[in-house]
Amino acid sequence: MTGLSVIRYGAWAAIAALGIVVAVVLLNPAKKTDQAAGGRVGGAFQIATAKGGVLDSASLKGKPYGLFFGFTQCPDICPGTLTDMTALMDELDKGATAAKIKDFRILFITVDPERDTAELLANYLSAFDGRIIGLVPTLDGLPALAKQFAAFYQKVPTTSGYTMNHTSAVYLFNSEGVFSGTLDIQESRANQKAKLERLLNR
């Protein structure tokens, strides 16, 4: 192989590599908008709040929010997530996103409306940040609501009653109400903070 042909092959290889990079870059945003436009996770909802009244998703327009499913007779994940979110919002209150986190809301939807009455849930949530809103769907409305968020929940009988299995992630929605990923308490606090800040700055 002459020196010239090496350069020629090298140039073609470089062009091919560039082509692949361009293709990937061009295709990726298309995928993202696809996901957003598809709106498979989320959508409009109206659910009774723990403090009385109804929360209409339309009232959240212009404000990013988080949403997660749980129940008060949950020993670990639910109080853990609520504690984490309270600490995280407290931290962001003191940071560069202070103005934006003020209007941030976290919706805590009980998957156990049989035992979690509005009054009980409101009392339970009084231990956490006031931006966390308790929602109590009807038992009949719960399956459709879970489906809307691709969430899972299941009653598990035990000797003295029952417990619940449920999706543990916090769903994040941007100010247009578009699903923008999830946040999990098994992630590091730094990771959670970065995700929330990205959501707020979008």
């Binding site: 008060t72 020993p75 670990d76 994940i77 853990g80 609520l82 231990a127 956490f128 035990t158 000797t159």
Partner: protein
């Protein structure tokens, strides 16, 4: 006290480094040496003193037969909460397997033995009707996200700094009274990974 030994050993390593520097004036070296020796002595006496002063509640333990129960704890609960998790370690120093078959907790009407798992973004919970086995030489860890006692029907919200009595019942070793230290609501035990490794080794040795 064995684990504090490296603290005392550290200054001698420093002395070695100082010795290597060699060319510095003998006077400065003596001052540094006496300083590090004094620091070492101070550190050693401080750790000995701390070992006596440290309140037993920080890392308390219980013993029944061949079983050692390490630091039973639970978490403070929000108002209206009806459940809480109970956590501790069980080390079996004997030659025979044993089994935790039931428990009671002064702060709740019932206690169940549960296992939690987190798979594919779903938190799952199941009761362990057969209890929890502790193999000879093994160390079983009850911890958030895994094996735990489920305190059901809490009589009152659990408050941080409280210490609440309970009882563990083992198939072979029998009953042992313990006390659960109430940690903060967001408390997480440290060195989770290290503890898991230990549990794994313990299981393998038998």
């Amino acid at each position: 006290l064995v684990c504090h030994l490296p603290l005392v050993r550290l200054p001698s390593e420093q002395l070695h480094v100082i010795g290597q520097l060699g060319q510095h004036s003998r006077q400065i070296r003596t001052i540094i040496m006496s300083f590090t020796r004094r620091a070492a002595l101070l550190a050693a006496s401080a750790t000995i003193l701390l070992a006596f002063i440290a309140p037993p509640s920080q890392a308390h333990g219980f013993k029944i037969g061949d079983l050692e129960i390490g630091h039973p704890w639970t978490r403070a609960t929000p108002p209206s909460a009806r459940v809480a998790g109970g956590f501790f370690t069980i080390t079996n120093t004997g030659a025979l397997p044993d089994r935790l078959i039931s428990a009671s907790f002064a702060g709740s009407t019932t206690v169940e033995l549960h296992e939690m798992a987190h798979e594919g973004g779903v938190m799952t919970m199941r009761e362990l009707p057969a209890g929890m086995e502790i193999k000879p030489g093994a160390r079983l860890e009850l911890r958030p996200g895994g094996l735990h006692l489920m305190f059901m029907g809490l009589k009152d919200a659990l408050k941080e700094t409280d210490s609440i009595k309970g009882e563990l019942v083992f198939e072979r070793a029998g009953r042992v009274e313990v006390s659960f230290k109430v940690e903060s609501m967001g408390y997480r035990p440290k060195a989770a990974g290290a503890d898991h490794d230990h549990a794994g080794h313990g299981a393998k040795t038998q």
